[in-house]
Symmetry: C2
Subunit: 329 residues, 2 copies
């Protein structure tokens, strides 16, 4: 896995052909109640309904389906806060490969359990003290396994971009050309893939990253023009969105293409999760609700506009979800 | 609203044209994990994602959109355990009509609040002691309002049948001709509409009603050939499925068309709600999870078969959902 060239729309189209029949073409949910509340059309790409409960299967399968089994006898290795883990584990099993995943010890139980349920080996580490990249690289070398990075890889980015392709096509079909698309953003792979897809298929659409307060490395990097770091490694409920800084490749793609980065508080995310439960009837994890939170909290103008919202994942522990439904702040 | 002739596929097709652009063409969710578990293909028609959170908007809009406003100056009146209430309230508002809804006092708060949120007046009654039909009929007469019954009306049945039409079309498109369809059943309107749609579009598909234990009036009626009553009016968590006996019109349609009625326990329903949360990432109310519960509890053979499952609604109070996620039996 040494290709480092940035992907383009051609790679996203090839990825769309590869994932066909393996990934779910997720529905675009439009709620009359949410439209009325916002005065616009809010089109929610429900990636929580994707295979493995998040968009991550798209990129993982686009990568892993191309591996030569003879060259990946040691299987695949990945590091992940939990959703990429499940995507890689499920893709590896489909391909008949072993998978070992390096995950933070504080990853939600559902993400660890699901990853194991696909037959993967889970190795935990301390998010604040250890380097997951180093642990994974060492493991890959020891085993002769292919490393599948969570975002810094053209095939991963192209795979995630298929969500943007589907979104642009379906929005056009519904006669709702998108003014903006809001993307829950961590390392920036999904955002980059969607930015590339929109540039090609819906060039007047502005793409915005959405991050949790205190983990706004992308928003700050877009302003400063260099890759900024977050001061902390944990401390938001959005466990999927805590990557420390933008990827070099994702930032190179995103920097010239994105609008201002949006930032939401944990309280706004909890509110969005409750809204998704009560009104949309879908299950969103905190990180998967960030873009919806930006709409509900009024971070952008919605009146008279068509806004795409990526609901990127739904892997949340039942106990946390129950606590949030109870109004826990 | 005096048409009493049974609807057929022609009426369902007309209903499909009427609801277009008003109702949601709900997605058919297929989970690789559930397929693997069952050894079949389970196609879940996610009516929880329908406008108003249940299939009921289909029939309500098919009825109410046809009303002559000059003849319905007093608006519309309905009685409902909660989902028909929301469907009627939303449809009436779209049509610019007043709505008054008679609901059991123990209806989940979310259903009452949502009904009011569409501008309807809610009148509660005691489920065990009073007759909702009488209260509603009196009210309709006093106000000069049109009564929209929850299932005993050809336009309501035809409207609900549109879910079956969509299911049959999408299953065919996915090359998954359905062996069986399981439908959460109360008065039998949805079941009847789907049975008619399947008869026309997928004649080899067997349709089965699914009811909660103790409220299996349809299953018993199908066996005895006459409309049997439930001994009790409440006592299951499936608040949407407690109608006391099959409707005369729905039974006339269903009796020659249905396979054996299936029965699920409240514990099996709770388990299905947890499964929908953890694996499918959709929110189901108890009554909306009954058909899925029948699959998960092994009430039918699934191996090698394609089974349609109607997930009929998602209007559940947060407190109850949280308690069920916590494993409450």
């Amino acid at each position: 896995m040494v290709r480092t060239m940035e992907p383009g729309i051609a790679e996203i189209e090839k990825a769309a052909a590869r994932i066909e029949g393996f990934a779910v073409k997720t529905p675009l949910i439009e709620s009359p109640i949410l439209n009325e509340r916002t005065g616009g059309r809010i089109l929610i790409k429900a990636e929580c309904l994707q295979r493995t409960g998040s968009f991550k299967f798209r990129g993982a399968w686009n990568c892993i389906s191309q591996l030569d089994p003879a060259k990946a006898k040691g299987g695949v290795v990945a590091y992940s806060s939990g959703n990429h883990a499940q995507g890689v584990a499920a893709a590896a099993r489909l391909k008949g490969l072993r998978a070992a995943i390096v995950m933070p010890a504080d990853t939600p139980e559902i993400k660890q359990a699901n990853t194991r349920s696909y037959g993967a080996e889970v190795i935990t580490y301390d998010r604040a003290r250890e380097s997951r990249e180093e642990i994974a690289a060492r493991l890959a070398e020891q085993r002769g396994a292919a490393l599948v990075p969570p975002f810094e890889h053209p095939d991963v980015i192209a795979g995630q971009g298929t969500a943007g392709l589907e979104l642009a096509e379906e929005a056009a079909r519904r006669n709702a050309p998108l003014d903006q698309v809001l993307v829950c953003c961590s390392g920036g792979g999904l955002t980059a893939g969607i930015a590339l897809a929109m540039e090609a298929r819906s060039p007047s659409t502005r793409v915005h990253s959405v991050e949790p307060e205190g983990f706004d490395d992308y928003a700050r990097s877009l302003r400063s023009g260099v890759r900024e770091k977050n001061p902390r490694a944990d401390g938001s409920i959005c466990d999927a969105l805590l990557t420390q800084q933008p990827g070099a490749m994702t930032f190179a793609i995103n920097r010239p293409r994105l609008g201002d980065g949006l930032i939401v508080s944990d309280a706004e995310v909890r509110n969005a999760m409750r809204y998704a439960f009560n009104t949309l009837k879908i299950v969103l994890e905190p990180g998967g609700a960030a873009a919806l939170a930006a709409v509900l909290a009024g971070k952008i103008i919605t009146k008279g506009r068509a806004i795409g919202v990526i609901a990127s994942g739904g892997n949340v522990d039942a106990a946390m979800f129950a606590e949030i439904l109870g109004g826990g702040g």
